[in-house]
């Protein structure tokens, strides 16, 4: 779908659903995922359909992912940091009981 117009300058390593991805430090998480060929970012809770970014300006919330265990993060607004673990947002993270 998308490709980089120039090489990565400050490469950092992140993961998406456990798979390792090289990304540009500080770019938007959405850009990093697109550049790695990923287009489905979340499952809509209403009908479990796969969704991806639509507006890229923080309005549509279709780009929600889980970052380091926190669901509901907007991939168009979050910036890449080394070691980020990203997963698809299912819309339904399970609340954990207090241990």
């Amino acid at each position: 779908m998308f490709k980089r117009s120039s090489e990565i300058r400050n490469s950092v390593s992140i993961t998406f659903e456990g798979q390792q991805i090289d990304a540009e430090d500080g770019e938007s998480v959405a850009a990093a995922l697109f550049a790695a060929g990923i287009s489905g970012f979340r499952y809509a809770p209403e009908n479990a359909s796969l969704r991806g970014p639509y507006c890229m300006i923080g309005n549509c919330f279709e780009c929600m992912v889980e970052i380091d265990g926190q669901g509901g993060r907007q991939a168009c607004r979050e910036r890449v940091r080394a070691g980020m673990a990203i997963r698809r947002h299912s819309g339904l993270p399970k609340p954990e009981a207090e241990s």
Binding site: P45, Q70, G71, G72, S90, G91, L92, K94, P95, A97
Partner: protein, 369 residues
């Protein structure tokens, strides 16, 4: 001849329940509703079908709430069958409290209700922390326990209203939105003319129910009825959706059928003001997190303020005008809990033109002492 047997003024949860119940009894019914921006208490409603907090100082109200709870299952099932709209009624609720002091006060309240119930089947249990933890694994270690009655539960109040609107029309009721009734005028033949705010005649009816919440006060004052209600503002918080983890409701937290958590129970007397304020929202959030720590992680989706229709003693007002028989004026803040009895029993009173004497206790003359 009048155009309708009954005209209902107000299309909120009260008016919808009456409209549905009357249409179901074969009454030729019209329901006048306001526009899209009406002060709709149902929209702010928390969705509790709740008995244990009601009528601690008025046994008849406690018994009436119990009766409502007993009818709710069949009422919900009938609506769902007729409309395909699931109102998601779940009869499971615990009054989970944050502190020992709250628990003590809750127990005292239950003792008052039990004493007032007489021979009616009402009982309650106090669950200690350990017993409660077995059914509510998400509670904080500091939670002392909960009250359980077996009568409390919750539903989706928005779908309840949608189902009532849909089914009352299927049953032949005439639903008229965007219509604010400006005046009710007694006719020579014993019925009433209803006119809009601009004076145009909207129609006539043999009997009229005014169930317009805060909007009803001025409407019935002209007919000599004093409706003693004030606005009690509650602020409600809704979270993002999470997977199903809590089937029961508490007095302040419940998970809706779509996965969101609702947090609520603030109460302020600040007039007709629906605005939220940050200290109150933060306080509601803090209290609920103190009971269920996992809530802190969830995203706030929406917050709003809604106005409860509150009477001086918090109990319902049901009255028929003595000067103008056939004119009924009803108000209460527990429109969800009581919707079953409103639809199935109060609608019968109106179609028969008479409030049974055992319900005279709900007449506002009780405030005259």
């Amino acid at each position: 001849m009048q155009d309708y047997d009954v005209a209902v003024v107000g299309g909120g949860l009260l008016g919808s329940a009456f409209g549905w119940g009357l249409a179901r009894r074969g009454q030729k019914t019209v329901v006048f509703d306001e526009g899209d921006r009406a002060i709709r208490t149902a929209r702010g409603n928390f969705g509790l079908v709740w008995v244990q907090s009601k009528g601690q100082n008025m046994p008849e109200y406690a018994a009436w709430s119990l009766r409502a709870s007993q009818l709710w299952q069949d009422f919900a099932a009938e609506l769902t069958e007729n409309t395909g709209v699931d109102v998601h009624y779940v009869k499971q609720g615990y009054n989970i409290v944050a502190t020992e002091a709250e628990l003590e006060s809750a127990i005292a309240g239950q003792d008052r209700i039990t004493a007032g119930m007489g021979d009616k089947a009402y009982g309650y249990e106090v669950l200690d922390h350990k017993t409660l933890k077995a059914v509510a694994p998400h509670i904080a270690d500091s939670v002392p326990g909960a009250i359980y009655t077996g009568h409390d539960g919750h539903c989706n109040p928005l779908f309840l209203m949608r189902a009532l609107h849909q089914d009352m029309q299927a049953k032949g009721a005439h639903y008229q939105p965007n219509t604010r009734v400006g005046a009710i005028t007694p006719r020579a033949d014993g019925g009433f003319d209803l006119t809009g705010e601009d004076g145009t005649l909207l129609g006539s009816a043999a009997r009229v129910i005014v169930a317009a919440g805060h909007g009803a006060v001025n409407l019935v004052r002209d007919l000599g009825i004093d409706l003693p209600v004030h606005a009690d503002q509650g602020q409600v918080l809704v979270t993002e959706k999470v997977s199903e983890s809590m089937s029961f409701a508490t007095g302040t937290v419940r998970q809706t059928d779509n996965g969101s958590f609702l947090l609520g129970a603030s109460s302020k007397q600040i007039g007709m003001d629906t605005r939220t304020d940050l200290p109150t929202l933060a306080e509601v959030a803090r209290y609920c997190i103190s009971v269920f720590p996992f809530l802190g992680k969830l995203r706030l989706q929406r917050a709003w303020g809604a106005l409860r229709v509150m009477t001086p003693d918090g109990c319902p007002v049901y009255q028929q005008s003595e000067a103008h028989p056939g004119l009924f004026s009803f108000a209460c803040h527990s429109g969800v809990t009581l919707s079953s009895v409103h639809a199935l029993e109060v609608a019968k009173w109106v179609s028969e033109g008479n409030i049974p004497s055992e319900f005279n206790v709900f007449h506002p003359r009780r405030f005259d002492v």
